[in-house]
Amino acid sequence: MMRGIHQNFDQQQAPAFFARGPSPLARLTFFTALSLALMATDSRLQYLANVRENLMTLLHPLQVIANAPLQLYQNTDEYFSTHHYLLAENTRLKKQALMQGIALQRLNLLNLENANLRSMLDAKQSLTETSTLAEIIHVGRDSFTKKIIVNRGKNHHVVTGAAAVDAKGVVGQVTRTYPASSEVTLITDKSLAIPVQIERNGLRAIAFGHGRDNMLDLPYLPANVDIKRGDKLVTSGIDGVYPAGLAVATVIEVKTTQDSPFAHIICAPTGGVENDRQVLLVSIPKIELATAIEALNSEKAMPTTTAEPATTNNAVHVNPSTQTTQAQKPAKPLSAEKPAQKPLANVESRPHAQQ
């Protein structure tokens, strides 16, 4: 009998009241290791892209439910918007339509002229782009990155790398696509670079997001660079991602200091990066880009002894393999409209963009 009790006691060394499975420390170690492994896999390898995509599909209905209250509010707000407001908007839109109509007439003429000039120069035709109108579902929930989620995805033929523009200029670039939505990284995000040109003098540069206060930087330009306050930056189109000539930003500050060989240039984006509800996703067809790369490679294979010294600096541009490895910045600095022998001479800024 005593033995029986003893045995019983032995079995109950960890009374059920305290039984909680593995110790908290064991759980902590296990789950910490698991998180670290996940983080390493996700940031260094691309295995989890599919998993994320599938889970996002699962999440989509929840997102719709969560958005419903705001949607309802906006709809009722629109319904009850005042007569006066509608009239004012109507006048504004009419005025805008008139102004754009004039610009459009000139555009047709210019397009025709451009096509003629190109055929005369025997240059390739510039790329035609496809566009999708998307509505912003929500802005990124992470305060460290500048991202928005829009309601068009793979099902609507949105591809990663497409440019996001609004009526006033470039807003960002599609960095992830899910079946019914996609993630647009804004140009003010630290990880996004965009090849630009100064409208006034055609100087090429790369604009980087500032990360914090909705601004853009133009780094790695020499202190004596010809950029003034109020200069407009437009896309150069030499990356094959953004169509050329879209407004990007306006220079608001140029500072040169004694201790730095580079100018400190800050620009404010022209597009309504923070206050849009709709954006246009513009993508340039991949096929044309591929043929452009091929054409360039075949040119590269041919011995070009007449090349200027600048081509050595440009060698990094024409290597498509190094370009395509960059998932975050699919900025391929070549385009079909690039003339054959003339290298792109933004020698200062380009190599830095690869870092």
Partner: protein, 159 residues
């Protein structure tokens, strides 16, 4: 009873997740408390047998997915934070409500600090002290819940 409790745990976690999915923007986004961590901490104090470090890790993954960051950031932050809640759970339920409040506040700060360190590794800058505001609003929300009569496990040792 136990099933009932499990159901309410799952329901509240789900509700917290929906709260995170709301289209927050601007100042609301800066002030948004970490609903998920608050609910997790509440259940860790109230029902430590049903909700544990594993639950926190799993919910952290979903938050990671919703924020679009690297997988595992929130999961790691929640894991470490809830670990500190679990090891002091027995003492916490005996604390006065003020003591409990201070401890929960430090846990919220801890999770934000971990996230900050992880983001720093990814190359992001510290965006100013307003980064820690969600902890403040979070603890306010906790206090409001306590005032409204939500039992944060403080008397659960009695019954």
């Amino acid at each position: 009873m136990r099933n009932n409790k499990l159901r309410s745990i799952y329901f509240s976690l789900f509700a917290a997740f929906i709260c995170i999915l709301f289209p927050w923007s601007g100042i609301a986004l800066t002030l948004r408390p970490d609903f998920m961590l608050l609910v997790l901490l509440f259940w860790l104090l109230r029902a430590p047998n049903q909700c544990s470090v594993g639950t926190a890790w799993f919910m952290g993954l979903w938050v990671d997915l919703a924020t679009g960051g690297i997988f595992g950031q929130y999961a790691l932050a929640y894991t470490i934070t809830t670990f500190f809640a679990v090891i002091y759970q027995r003492r916490l339920v005996l604390f006065s409500s003020t003591q409990q409040l201070v401890y929960v506040f430090s846990l919220l700060l801890l999770s934000q600090l971990i996230l900050l360190v992880l983001k720093a590794f990814a190359g992001h800058d510290f965006s100013g002290w307003s980064y820690f505001l969600p902890s403040v609003t979070g603890i306010l929300l906790w206090q409001i819940a306590v005032i409204l009569g939500l039992n944060t496990g403080r008397h659960s040792h009695g019954n």
